[in-house]
């Protein structure tokens, strides 16, 4: 589905409807992942040796039935950090909108998660781990039944125009974001708030379930317990926006030069020159940060040219990362390798199997056979550096999830046997539709050759990414003619819920192949109500097992993030859900 022309992480296109579209986001620190210690992520990372002091974690058990794992008081000045300087970032695509309720593409997301805005009530403050309190002074107090969350706001947090953020700003911002006129892509993240569905449907103008008690207390009522709401409150579409600035600037200008509360103010946006500039916000809520004086964006640059610019030092950071087609080259080249930093990423890539109600794909054995027939290790040589072999439904690296499913391996004999059992001893023919974006044509050709070895003859149909998205959406309404296509997903929440609720639940927003399993549906609903992480992970492990056996996809690879970072940058920190942490970066 939708992805940008970027060569970096695949990106979903905008879907202007009330649904979660898939956002591509990536990964945490590899070193921290190996250590398995959530709290020490930043400091432990060998890739970010002079890392954030925010690692001073105190795993506070928050009151009122909340079991948020940890509490970190935000990024702190780091010893050795240098003030001043400008970081130049280069991008492929223009931001679709810098309005936090609307931004979804790579460029926009980077600007609204880490520059103009930084989180909302909650935030992802490190390279790893769940959401922590941000504009909220601490984790929410929760009612015994986990349906009422009471947030106390940190006093003195200011918008870029100097006004303090108060509780009613959140109500305004959320009502604005949920209103049908706004057509935000992200409304489904908030549907568990009481009254949100009515607001989305246009039946009311008020968000019944949220109330401000004074300037510094915000109470959120949920229709049912939902642990994902805390992730949603860390993402930019729930960030507070100042009403007076929205009204002063108007919709178009607010989408270009929004006023937020993040570490940098936007000072210019020039769609003709394809640049934007951001300047240090001196009253940023975390004192002493950011280090940089300014960040500049330039977009409309070919991915291969971006790499050349990084090489000769005329840019400092590749927004879309190192292009997939260049990864092997960069990693093999002694001088270029210093510019690459690899991180795991909660994203994956697969072939979607359509028509699971018609032969040959109605038989799970056929779908499993396809999964056994793919030699992922060979495929991994083609996508070296940006994807790793991984034959399971959920991405290999999800911060708070331990894998129990045994991934599909390469076993052509078993594939042939399963095909024979299903009544296709001589295989069959099918069409695989792919977008022309890197790395799909390559991946598809390798898989095509491998499948033909077990008798499944796949013809390739290459279309533009926009065309593929419309074909996929047609499938969802039952009017499509796809048989197989190649697709990917990057999570915005550090939990399998992100994929399950969007891809696998019956009727989910991006469930294009209409996969439906009543057991998955009920387990997914139960998992969402479960605040205990261990218990929840057991449920998600069950879900992964069921999906793995149903094999609605041919699971291929798990994503990696290959950042292109200039030599003058220090303390580069990144996570897949929200991208580069500019507030702690220095030159």
């Amino acid at each position: 589905m939708s992805r940008s022309a970027d060569d970096g992480p695949r990106w979903p296109l905008p879907v202007a409807r009330d649904s979660t579209s898939r956002r591509g986001f990536l990964r945490m620190s590899g070193a921290a992942g190996l250590l398995g210690t959530l709290g020490a992520a930043g400091a432990a990372s060998s890739l970010a040796a002079c890392s954030s002091g925010a690692a001073a974690t105190s795993p506070t058990a928050a009151g009122g039935g909340v079991r948020i794992k940890e509490y970190v008081p935000g990024p702190q000045p780091v010893s050795g950090g240098q003030y001043g300087g400008t970081v130049r970032v280069v991008w492929s695509d223009p931001p679709n909108s810098l309005d936090p309720a609307l931004g979804y593409n790579l460029t926009a997301w980077d600007a609204i998660t880490e520059l103009v805005f930084f989180g909302g009530l909650m935030a992802y403050d490190k390279q790893l781990g769940g959401p922590v309190a941000n504009i909220a002074a601490g984790p929410p107090a929760m009612s015994a039944d986990n349906t009422t969350l009471t947030f106390t706001l940190r006093p003195g947090v200011k918008f870029h125009n100097g006004r303090e953020i108060v509780a009613s700003d959140f109500i305004y911002s959320w009502e604005r974001m949920l209103a049908p006129a706004m057509a935000s892509w992200a409304t489904s993240y908030l549907t568990s708030i009481a009254g949100a569905s009515e607001l989305i449907a246009g039946k009311t103008k008020k968000l019944e379930g949220v109330e401000a008690r004074g300037d510094h207390t915000l109470v959120v009522h949920l229709t049912a317990p939902d642990f994902t709401i805390l992730n949603a409150l860390a993402l930019p579409f729930t960030a507070p926006v100042p009403r007076e600035e929205v009204e002063r600037l108007g919709a178009t200008k607010f989408g270009q030069t929004p006023v937020g509360s993040g570490p940098f103010r936007i000072t210019s946006y020039d769609s003709a020159a394809q640049t934007a500039a951001f300047e240090r916000f001196d009253d940023y809520m975390y004192p002493g940060l950011p280090y940089l004086d300014a960040v500049t964006y330039r977009w409309g640059v070919d991915p291969n040219v971006q790499l050349l610019e990084l090489e000769n030092g005329s840019v400092d950071l590749l927004g879309p990362g190192i292009p997939s087609s260049q990864a092997a080259y960069v990693l093999a080249n002694p001088t270029l390798r210093d510019l690459a930093q690899q991180r795991p990423s909660p994203g994956n890539l697969w072939l979607t199997i359509y028509n699971m109600d018609k032969p040959p794909f109605d038989n799970p054995k056929v779908r499993q056979a396809l999964n056994w027939a793919v030699d992922r290790a060979a495929l991994g040589r083609e996508t070296y550096g940006t994807f790793a072999p991984w034959g399971a439904p959920f991405p290999q690296q999800i911060a708070s999830f331990r894998q129990t499913f045994t991934p599909y391996g390469y076993d052509p004999a078993k594939a042939r046997q399963l095909l024979a059992e299903a009544g296709y001893p001589h295989g069959f023919s099918a069409e695989l539709t792919i977008s022309s974006d890197d790395p799909y044509p390559t991946v598809a050709q390798v898989v095509q050759a491998q499948l033909s070895a077990v008798g499944v003859h796949v013809s390739l149909n290459e279309v533009s990414s926009n065309a593929l998205l419309s074909l996929e959406e047609a499938e969802q309404t039952g009017g499509g003619h796809l048989q197989l296509d190649a697709d990917d997903w990057y999570e915005v929440q550090p939990t399998p819920a992100d994929e399950v609720d969007a891809l696998y639940v019956s009727g989910a927003s991006s469930n294009y192949n209409r996969y439906s399993n009543a057991q998955v549906d009920s387990l997914a609903a139960r998992a969402r109500r479960t605040f205990d992480e261990a218990e929840r992970n057991t449920i998600y492990a069950q879900i992964q097992q069921i999906i793995g056996e149903d094999a609605p996809f041919v699971f291929l690879e798990s994503a990696l993030w290959l950042a292109g970072v200039g030599k003058r940058l220090h303390n580069y920190q990144y996570r897949g859900e929200t991208y580069t942490y500019y507030d702690r970066l220095w030159v």
Partner: protein, 305 residues
Amino acid sequence: MAQTAIPAPAPAPADTVTEAVSERSRRARWPASLIAGVILLLIFAGIAVAAPAFGNPLQQNLLTGLSRTGLPLGISWAHPLGTDLLGRSELARLAFGIRTSMIVAIVSNVTSIAIGAAVGLAAGFFRGPVEAILMRVTDVGLALPYTLAALVIAGLMTAGLTRVIVIITALFWAYPARLVYGEVLRLRHRGFVESADAIGARGVSIAGRHLLPHVFPLLVTYSPLNAASAVVFEATLSYLGAGINPPTASLGNMISDGQTAISYAPHLLLVPAVAILLITMSFLLIGEGLKARNPDLARVSWLGR
């Protein structure tokens, strides 16, 4: 194939040509550009016919055909033009890419010129409403933005050689139609046409027996240029993903794959690009040579002849 692409010198109207030819030397009958073009084209036609001898263009060698770090191999005895990103022999892919280009060039050339000639003849000969309708459609055809129109047609069809040929035919017929129409208008009131009319010959017969032979040299001269454009356009379509789909080799596909590898495997871009250049060149040289032989078309050419 070569014979189709280089039609023999047309049985041109004797009254004009013989005089002109008698004034010219043998060199003018076989100008250097024509000889060079024919030789080049024969070489490519030979490669196209013998493509299977150069190896299997679809055989991936992800282990042996790539370097230890997964990069394409350079030029060596085992792989005379190196390997591509999937470890396939670049030489085999080049040969099959040339075959694809030659088939497209020849078939779409014949179809587009045939349609164009038929439209031009009909419009020029019958005049009246037929002319009005056909020539306005032709004008529309000439005004179409080629790439955009091609992408639209591509969206309606399934991928493959047929799609490319249909697209090129659909976009390339209008210019020869214009050309033939203009020529027919010029010939329409010449004595031999009017006398055929006077003895009661039917319209179709006049068009076919009296006009077409006169238009033919023009088409013969135009066709190499048309073929050259077709080769380039096929490459453009495949490059944009609207032409020949992978894994089938086509020069456009190969360029598209090769451009991402320019920094570490420049041969993947240069080899198909040079092939396109040379094929196009061979057609243009033939076109120039034919033009030089035809006194009716004596104009200042790009070779200064």
